[in-house]
């Protein structure tokens, strides 16, 4: 089968037409769903900010449900499928072997995601992102989730097909390049994760259709978090792969110890699912012994992997910049790093915030003994906005500034705005996350419409300092939405109006 390759002039990457189109459309879908997810986030954060309290009751839960779907599922997974195509074809210099399957996966994800959006906005699924039974949604909601999950599963399967056939065609010799290896870890976890999704959403759909009488709530939560938490490790693996690729593309940096980095990815595959148990720490199903073994001990094997990456990547940046001559003192390389390049600053902000905000709090809040003072408070929301937003989303935003020139052959517009966008968004998310975690330390609950309990038969008053922390969350949210709008404008603007890169 003939395929048409072109060579990117700035990187020398070989890109075939089929891969290029698949990456383009997955990236466009990612940008569009982030735009919707961000708009919903604005409604949610302005409702949780007590002095604004914007939305009425039903719309708060409706927007919160859809914010989780669009911002956590759709934006991130569409971007990851774009990365699947990029790392299994472009990075290896070989073609997409099953483009028809890529389009089938894309169509299923688009139809499933669209169906979920319509049903939730029509009020048919005010069940939150987790849709815990016995909350019951319209059957079309579960069908939408299943279609999206099957599409994503096919997307990850494409990765395996491409890398097997690429090796046959000489795309790589012994092992995959590190960026592709990271996406291999993401794809393996992706298959395991989506199998959990099928195992729980198909019975729940049958229950919603009244074919089966009952789904056990405890069993639902157990299997759901086999989908819910490992899917965050798909995000972490993809984010770390993006970090390695960004260092290589922007600085020409190489991993300081490739074997160690590969081992860290394997640790993700082996041990991340045991950490999923922190979602079940107040459930009566599992024994205390079981919870402690998994979340006080085994969890640290997955944490070790993140620590290895979080130190190895800055080390490769330092080595690369020292080779460029920035050798004075301990930190000249840090001062002279390309901070005006949004691809670099996006990656650096992502590493910093993922480590200090998401990482430290994840280890502490996820530990069985500590968890009880944070469980179901807004501190948990602050933690995962430190991981999947300040970490994954910021890293993906930074990588977009590389993908658009490589894949769309367009220059980034408004370069001045582009250079400040990661700082604007990163600062906003950091304030949002710290505000949430601080308010959560005073017991402010998550997913709660009215923490003043107005009209309730019992009254409860939180420590007055929470007003300051929730205002900090609100201001951070507004800053982040501003940075997000700028990213969407820069992304779509560059794709449509960016100067064509001729070669």
């Amino acid at each position: 089968m003939a395929s048409i390759f072109r060579t990117d002039p700035s990187t020398g990457l070989k890109i075939d037409r089929a891969s290029e189109n698949l990456i383009r459309w997955n990236l466009i879908a990612a940008l569009a769903t982030l735009a919707v997810g961000g708009l919903l986030a604005l409604g949610v954060v302005l409702t949780r900010w007590p002095s604004v309290h914007l939305l009425p009751l039903d719309y708060y839960y409706r927007f919160l449900t859809l914010h989780g779907i669009d911002a956590l599922l759709a934006w991130i997974i569409f971007f990851e499928i774009a990365l699947v195509h990029f790392t299994s074809t472009v990075i290896l210099g070989t073609r997409s072997y099953v483009p028809w399957l890529g389009w089938l996966a894309f169509a299923l994800m688009l139809i499933g995601g669209g169906l979920i959006n319509v049903i939730v906005l029509m009020g048919g699924a005010d069940v939150m992102f987790t849709s815990y039974v016995p909350l019951k949604a319209d059957p079309l909601y579960y069908i939408g989730v299943i279609l999206f999950a099957v599409g994503a599963l096919l997307g990850f399967i494409i990765f395996f097909i491409n890398i097997v056939l690429s090796k046959r065609d000489g795309g790589y010799k012994r092992s995959l390049p590190l960026g592709s290896f990271g996406m291999l870890a993401a794809s393996i976890i992706g298959v395991l994760t989506l199998a959990h999704g099928a195992a729980i959403f198909i019975p729940t759909l049958l229950w919603a259709l009244d074919f089966i009488p009952w789904v056990d709530p405890a069993a639902y939560r157990l299997v759901f978090w086999g989908l819910g938490h490992p899917s965050q490790q798909i995000n972490v693996s993809a984010m770390v792969a993006v970090w390695y690729m960004t260092v290589a593309f922007v600085l020409g940096g190489k991993p300081v110890n490739e074997k160690l980095s590969r081992t860290a990815f394997v640790l993700y595959i082996l041990f991340i699912n045991v950490a999923s148990e922190h979602h079940l720490l107040v459930d009566p199903v599992l024994s205390t012994w079981h919870k402690i073994v998994n979340t006080s001990y085994m969890m640290h094997l997955a944490v070790l992997a993140s620590m290895i990456h979080a130190f190895a990547i800055p080390a490769s940046i330092e080595v690369a910049l020292r080779k460029q001559g920035y050798t004075r003192g301990l930190f000249e390389w840090l001062k002279k790093a390309p901070w005006g390049n949004p691809a670099f600053s996006g990656m650096a902000i992502s590493i910093l915030l993922f480590g200090f905000l998401g990482g430290i709090t994840g280890v502490i809040f996820g530990t069985e003994q500590f968890n009880i003072i944070r469980h179901n408070t807004i501190a948990i929301t602050g933690h995962f906005h430190g991981t999947v937003v300040a970490g994954t989303t910021v890293a993906f935003m930074g990588f977009t500034y590389l993908l658009i020139p490589y894949v769309f052959r367009r220059e980034i517009i408004w370069k001045g705005f582009a250079s400040i966008q990661p700082y604007l968004y990163g600062t906003g998310v950091a304030l949002l996350s710290i505000g949430m975690m601080s308010a959560g330390s005073f017991g402010v609950p998550r997913r709660h419409y009215d923490i003043t309990f107005s009209g309730a038969p019992f009254s409860f008053t939180f420590d007055p300092s929470i007003d300051m922390f929730l205002s900090m969350m609100g201001v951070g949210g507004l800053l982040a939405v501003t940075g997000g709008v700028l990213y969407i404008l820069l992304g779509f603007g560059s794709i449509i109006w960016g100067k064509k890169i001729e070669h």
């Binding site: 130190f311 330092e318 480590g355 003072i373």
Partner: protein
């Protein structure tokens, strides 16, 4: 022999922050439990 001395220092700072926050939570928990 240290390829990235700057990152070595940054890593120590990160670990120090990590340990301080970890022990702050332990102290909090011990106060709740009434452990002296």
């Amino acid at each position: 022999t240290v390829e990235a001395p700057g990152v070595f220092v940054l890593a120590l700072i990160f670990l120090a922050v990590f340990i301080i926050i970890w022990f702050a939570h332990l102290k909090w928990l011990m106060d709740i439990w009434g452990v002296q």
